[in-house]
């Protein structure tokens, strides 16, 4: 088991190395002089001496292997360069936005997972009934709605009409302590609700489909025959088994978590990574984009690694299969 985990880690380390190396290569692969890519300004008017100075500043006057080594050294020291547009270290900018994205998208994914899974299980359990049909129809309608539209409706109702929640931002500049927590919670409510409503469809449908299959399995009939209550059978036996594909979906969603939710962050003026990446694209802030892509790539690879390592813990068949192979 440990040997297999080590092998997995090695494979993922290789993938990370390739991703980081590609990240290093981006400025060199882009058309033209890498200094144009990194400098972000018009280098056409610079004198050769100024150009050389800038080139030296970015370490582009060294050989490619030396640059590659320096790139890894800087990376190890947490140096991802300087944002051209913001004139600040890329790491600072990313770390500034990262907590907000983790909180927003993370909470949204957790909420949509819990809600989608429970509703999906309920719809499967009551399959054939009118309430189940209504539930499926309702979730499909929700799933078909674009997230920006869901967000705008929530704003119109809960912010403009009822005045219950703010419609923009993550907090206010002068909030501290409990007031800060309250600000964060109330300002997160509508965007989290939007992400939840916009993404619960996938969890709902996955759970329902898996549950419907599982409910016909002999072990479920056996559980009924033992005299267990419907709730015990549904939650303790059927849902537990049906959760495996849902877990896969969770890890996939978690992998994309770091890339933020551009649309929702835009509608709610939320200061997350998705919006940051969008802004970096608009102003061609390549160093910032490089840093963001690196973060997202590592996030996705990390989520896949976690899924790979934890799946056997959830599915005895995988454990047994691997044991049989060894």
């Amino acid at each position: 088991m440990l040997g297999r985990s080590a092998s997995k880690l090695l494979q993922y380390a290789l993938v990370v190395w390739v991703a980081v190396t590609l990240n290093f290569a981006l400025p060199h692969l882009a058309p033209g002089d890498p200094v144009d890519y990194l400098y972000g300004g018009d280098t056409g008017d610079l004198t050769p001496a100024q150009l050389e100075q800038i080139r030296a500043g970015y370490g582009l006057d060294a050989s490619v292997p030396e640059q590659y080594l320096a790139f890894w050294t800087n990376l190890a020291g947490g140096d991802l360069g300087t944002s051209v547009a913001l004139n600040r270290p890329v790491v600072d900018v990313l770390l500034e936005r990262l907590p907000w994205t983790l909180a927003l998208v993370g909470t949204g994914i957790v909420a949509s997972t819990v809600l989608g899974t429970l509703l999906g299980a309920l719809a499967a359990w009551r399959r054939g009934s009118r309430s189940a049909a209504a539930l499926v129809s309702g979730v499909l309608v929700l799933d078909a709605m674009p997230s920006f539209w869901v967000g705008m409706i929530l704003i119109a109702v809960f912010s403009v009409t009822l005045g219950w929640f703010p419609s923009y931002g993550a907090t206010t500049i002068d909030a501290t302590g409990a007031a800060w927590l309250a600000e964060v919670a109330t300002r997160m409510a509508l965007p989290v609700a939007t992400i939840t409503l916009a993404t619960l469809g996938a969890f709902f449908l996955l759970t329902r489909a898996a549950m419907v299959t599982v409910l016909d399995e002999p072990f479920v009939r056996h559980a009924h025959a033992k005299g267990l209550t419907g709730r015990q059978v549904a939650l303790g036996h059927a849902l537990r088994t049906a959760l495996l594909p849902v877990y896969t979906n969770i890890t996939l969603a978690a992998g994309a978590l770091l890339s933020g939710a551009v649309v929702v962050e835009t509608v709610f003026a939320y200061p997350g990574l998705g919006r940051l990446i969008f802004e970096a694209v608009v102003v061609r802030d390549y160093p910032l984009l490089q840093g963001a892509f690196l973060l997202v790539t590592v996030g996705i690879i990390g989520a896949n690694l976690v899924a790979d390592l934890t799946y056997p813990l959830l599915d005895p068949r995988v454990r047994q299969g691997r044991a049989a192979l060894t």
């Binding site: 018009d42 004139n87 912010s159 923009y168 931002g169 003026a269 694209v281």
Partner: protein
């Protein structure tokens, strides 16, 4: 005042502290004239107001002051940090300074700060104010005595008082002397100014917080605290305004919201402004046949400005039939005329030998058929519609053009690298209402690249402009340059828009337009008599 009276004004001394007058120029609507706290949305966070790194001018001027106020965009800037600004001779000006001004950190404002600021702007990396001290004009500052500064120009500078000194913010020597000029852009400390507000907190995520400078020399601000969150999306901004979460917005209102906000019972009120900015069609003077003055004139004549205004901006503004610069700019030549005349455009093109040989409706030239792309920001529907209309207008005179949508990054890159034939953009107040920038734009590559690229017509006029020693002669030279430019433009204004700014009158009603700055600026936040004395706002309609 007619701009022709400016020489008289400048021949005399620009003197006197701000005069006091009763009135409501800064309070055009009913509502509170003061407030404890206002929340004003900004469309972007541009750092802690480092003047050398780039910042929104209206916001930065909450913190900083200039020798004259409010800006070069009015005909009569008044002494502000100065008590008197004197025209000594064509290359020399002097300014007497106030002795009751204190920097936000408690240090006294001195003449040394002024001398230092001029030198520092010249040494710092190229930025918004560089040309004012190192090209148009080129000048140094020196101490006459502890309260007086002398400005000495390399060539005649009759507009130094009304333009340059009304545009350059003054920074504290005791702060910036610690920063090597080459590192000026890197500073991220909170700024120290003399202005009516102190920036007490900045966070890239949550925005800005200002507190009133209660000891401000011109009078205590009318609002005690300003909070400025960053809301990039216009829709989110005006939703927050509609629901009362914010009290005003720095950005103008989207055209489609004007009817809603103007409706009776709306909790939001509008101020209509005539901003010093306009959308323009830029012609790449480096590429043939756009390097030909007659061809550029033909393009200008082919654009139907009235239709452009009606279709693209729903008639909210004026047709751009008075060319470049903005017709309301204090130095604008009132005789300028850039009419829509497709027949003249066709005649010019015929005269250039650019005729449709193969009968496909597109003229041919030495380089083949006249087919061009008009680049525009695909994320801005108004720009795209303008590009499509220009394409239709050019097609009517036998020039095939296609509107090409680009993302903002690509568009900026291709504009900077001059990788275009035609491009739709927007030029703002500094470009179209500042006479020295108008000259500078001919030297910087924006309107031309003088003297690197030959421009014989401009050469003679530029020398005439440079040699003029009175404001009257300088304005006359500027008139000639404007006439010449609009006869062979490299930028064709498409329309002069009106803009609407929105606010909640139940929270604060002191908003007023300051030319070139919308309604969110320090002049909306100072007592009405002070504002009137500074000639800083346009009286409400």
């Amino acid at each position: 005042m007619n701009r022709r009276l400016l020489p008289l004004l400048l021949a005399a001394t620009i003197a006197g502290a701000a005069c006091s007058a009763d009135g409501d120029a800064a309070a055009p609507v009913d509502g509170p004239a003061s407030a404890d706290r206002l929340t004003i949305a900004l469309p972007e966070a541009r750092g802690p107001l480092n003047l050398f790194a780039g910042s929104d001018e209206a916001v930065a001027e909450l913190v900083y002051d200039k020798l004259l106020a409010p800006s070069p965009y009015v005909e009569e800037p008044r002494p502000w940090l100065a008590t008197e600004v004197r025209f000594v001779d064509p290359t020399t000006w002097e300014a007497d300074l106030r002795d009751d001004v204190v920097w936000h950190d408690g240090e006294p404002f001195t003449a040394e700060d002024v001398v230092f600021s001029i030198a520092y702007f010249a040494q710092a990396p190229t930025g918004r104010w560089t040309h004012h001290v190192s090209d148009v004009p080129t000048f140094d500052a020196s101490l006459v005595d502890s309260d007086t500064v002398r400005f000495t120009c390399a060539f005649a500078c009759p507009e130094l008082g009304t333009v340059t000194l009304a545009d350059l913010p003054i920074v504290p020597e005791h702060v910036w002397a610690q920063v090597p000029p080459e590192d000026a852009k890197e500073v991220r400390d909170l700024p120290v100014g003399t202005g009516p507000y102190r920036l007490v907190d900045f966070d890239p995520v949550t925005g800005y917080r200002f507190e009133a400078n209660t000891g401000y020399f011109a009078g205590e601000p009318t609002v005690r605290e300003l909070v400025m969150p960053v809301i990039e999306d216009p829709s989110a901004t005006f939703t927050a305004l509609r629901s009362g979460q914010i009290d005003a917005a720095l950005a103008p209102v989207s055209p489609e919201l004007i009817a809603e906000f103007s409706a009776p019972g709306s909790p939001v009120q509008l101020v209509r402004t005539a901003p010093f900015q306009f959308p323009e069609l830029r012609l790449n003077f480096r590429n043939a046949p756009f390097d030909d003055p007659d061809f550029r004139r033909a393009i200008s004549r082919a654009v139907d400005r009235a239709e452009m205004l009606d279709t693209v901006f729903l008639g909210q503004g004026r047709p751009a039939d008075k060319g470049y610069p903005h017709p309301d700019a204090p130095f604008a030549n009132p005789e300028l005329s850039t009419p829509y005349d497709p027949d003249e455009a066709r005649a010019i093109l015929d005269g250039l030998g650019l005729v449709d040989i193969d009968g496909d409706g597109v003229r041919e030239g030495p380089g083949g058929p006249l087919r061009y792309e008009i680049l525009a920001n695909g994320g801005q529907p108004i720009d795209m519609r303008a590009a499509e209309l220009v394409a239709e207008d050019l097609s009517a005179v036998g020039v095939a053009a296609t509107a090409v949508p680009l993302d903002a990054g690509t568009l900026a890159e291709r504009s900077t690298e001059r990788d275009f034939d035609l491009v739709i953009g927007t030029i703002t107040a500094h470009g179209v209402a500042d006479p020295t920038q108008f000259i500078m734009s001919h030297r910087s590559g924006y309107l031309w690249e003088h003297p690197e690229i030959p421009y014989p017509e401009f050469d003679a006029l530029f020398r005439q402009w440079q040699a003029s020693t009175t404001i009257e002669d300088r304005l006359a030279a500027l008139d000639d340059i404007q006439a010449m430019f609009n006869d062979q433009p490299t930028s064709v204004p498409l329309y002069y828009p009106d803009e609407y700014y929105a606010f909640r009158p139940d929270r604060y009603a002191g908003w007023a337009e300051s030319p070139g700055f919308g309604i969110v600026h320090k002049w909306s936040l100072l007592p009405a008599d002070v504002v009137r004395g500074a000639n800083a706002v346009v009286a409400g309609d």
